[in-house]
Amino acid sequence: MDVVRNTADPDIPSDQPWLSSSETPFIEIRNVSKQFGSFVALQNVNLKIYKGELFSLLGGSGCGKTTLLRLIAGFMMPTQGSIIIDGQDMTNVPPHLRPVNMMFQSYALFPHMNVFNNIAYGLKKEGVAKAEIKERVEDALNLVQLRPYATRKPHQLSGGQRQRVALARALVKRPKALLLDEPLAALDKKLREHTQYELMNIQHKVGITFIVVTHDQEEAMTLSTRIAVMDQGQVYQVGRPTEIYEYPNCRFTADFIGTMTIFEGRVSGFSNSQMHVQSPELSNELLVKYMGAPLPVGTSVGVAIRPEKIVISPQNLHDRPNSVNAKVRDLGYFGGVTSYRMVTDSGKLISVNLTNVGRDINLKIDWDAEVHLSWSADAAILLTE
């Protein structure tokens, strides 16, 4: 299979099918809009999700991510646009006839049925033979390591066990895609981390396409092959976790994912694949590595820098580009890293992270310390939108 794909498009790695124009998406969202009365929940959303992906819809509450998931499941119909699953238009197909299954945020286990019957329910509705139901439910129970709990009722299980029953109940149907609505939100922190990896392992084992809705960016970063960043019913960026983090394409993504310091300014020139930017928030010039066609002088842009990419220098750098003098205003000690909020003379706040390499009881840079900050041209990101 790989050979065939490589001859078709030799530069495309097999784990990134979205880069190929000849690869057909497994699930396609085409121009989908959804309105509730006058409220626009989704606005012209286009997504292509490929087979075997673990695709995350990431955004704050009310961004439309859950609405999109419910549209794919079939609990509602889009106001506009179409949803294609495995080559078939599913836009107006009711949920019980769709080849996808959902794991609900509240798990939605049937309280009057025991674990076995909860998991078997979908197979019974499908008309699967009794012996096969028993076999498949037991396989599913083994997969989520709940074999001894088959006869328990949902209220006799812990939160983590319920989550696994919900997962088994959705997986046992062997859906073409599994939709997970905030799968880990109801678990406590330690269990959440553990379950994250378990979820990835299970996805790897069964090879089913997962679509995960989450508001937790760390969760999305760890789990996903790709992430769609959403806000106000729109998809802002789709990309691998590293792409989203290192190459945000707009101010929203840059600001939403992780921490970012953004200098607002105007383009002042271009040389050596670097855009020159003047910002009223910074006395020195800003240089940003830029591979595209140069932007005209005067274009208003944002220059964004991640806190871990800023270097704290011992000596004053004076008027070197990409540097500034600042003073520590706040600091947060997190063990592995110390997170600073520095303030410049112009009053601009800059976030800087420092990895605690040594084992010093006292921080080298403490409250009110005077520091010199700098960063390289390829550490900064130019934002036009």
Partner: protein
């Protein structure tokens, strides 16, 4: 205590003998002389109930009418409660108000109003004749039909309200989950909604069944003399015959017949509490 004292008094009367006195029954405790107190318990009243087919028929008749009425109330009330629970919030309160509206007029008056509707010259017959559905008036008043109608009309809210309370609390995502797993809307109802609304069905059924068994006003105003319900027997014994002990025995026997479903209900509720 509030419930127990009247019950104990009735129990006491049921164990006495009737007498031409005021009150019309013999005392249980009598002083024979200064040292001896005599306790006389008469079980004849209960034996009399058992031996006389009038009472047994009245009991069975009452139980049958109450059972059928309860099932009919459930069949009519469930869709109503379901519709209210699934209606939009702004409609819900209006619909609930409409269910409770009849309570604002006295019960007796409402039942009496049905005689005007069901009469040979009543509104319903006149309407049907006018619409040429029938050529001669139907006999509806003083029939079992009228009794069922009256009981269902009067007790329907007692079925709808507890059912509504249960259905309204059901988690709608369970329905979504079932349909997501491949259940048609019909299966979603029978697999998920119906079993989970069982506590409401039981509460509503008991609230209809228990008062319907002892109902007096409705069969008296709308029913015929040929199928007597136990409430009527009770009334006659008490006020026409002035046989208080027999009347009390009738009441106690009725109570015992009703205590069984109440205990079942309590047991079921206890089990429900345990599991949630």
């Amino acid at each position: 205590m509030f419930f127990l004292i009247p019950f104990l008094i009735v129990l006491k009367i049921s164990l006495a003998d009737s007498a031409l006195a005021r009150p019309p029954f013999t005392p249980l405790l009598t002083w024979i002389d200064a040292q001896h107190l005599s306790l006389t318990i008469t079980i004849g009243n209960y034996q009399y109930l058992w031996q006389n087919s009038l009472y047994i028929r009245a009991y069975l008749n009452s139980l049958m009418i109450a059972s059928i009425s309860t099932v009919l109330c459930l069949l009519i009330g469930y869709p109503m409660a379901f519709a209210i629970a699934r209606a939009r919030t702004e409609w819900r309160n209006i619909m609930l108000l409409m269910v409770m509206l009849p309570f604002w007029t006295p019960f007796l008056l409402r039942v009496y109003a049905w005689t005007g509707l069901l009469d040979q010259n009543g509104l319903i017959n006149r309407f049907l004749e006018w619409a040429h559905v029938i050529s001669s008036p139907l006999t509806m008043l003083y029939t079992p039909f009228a009794v069922y109608l009256g009981i269902i009309y009067s007790y329907l809210p007692f079925m709808v309200l507890p059912l509504y309370a249960t259905l309204e609390r059901l988690d709608a995502t369970l329905d979504d989950a079932a349909s997501d797993l491949g259940a048609r809307p019909r299966s979603v109802f029978f697999d998920i909604t119906l079993p989970l609304s069982m506590p409401g069905i039981i509460a509503g059924s008991l609230l209809v069944f228990i008062p319907a068994v002892g109902e007096f006003v409705i069969p008296d105003l709308l029913g015929s003399d040929s199928n007597v319900m136990i409430g009527r027997v009770l009334y006659d014994e008490f006020f026409s015959n002035r046989d208080w002990p027999t009347a009390s025995a009738v009441a106690i026997a009725l109570l015992v017949a009703l205590v069984v479903p109440i205990i079942l209900f309590q047991y079921y509720q206890g089990k429900q509490l345990e599991s949630s």
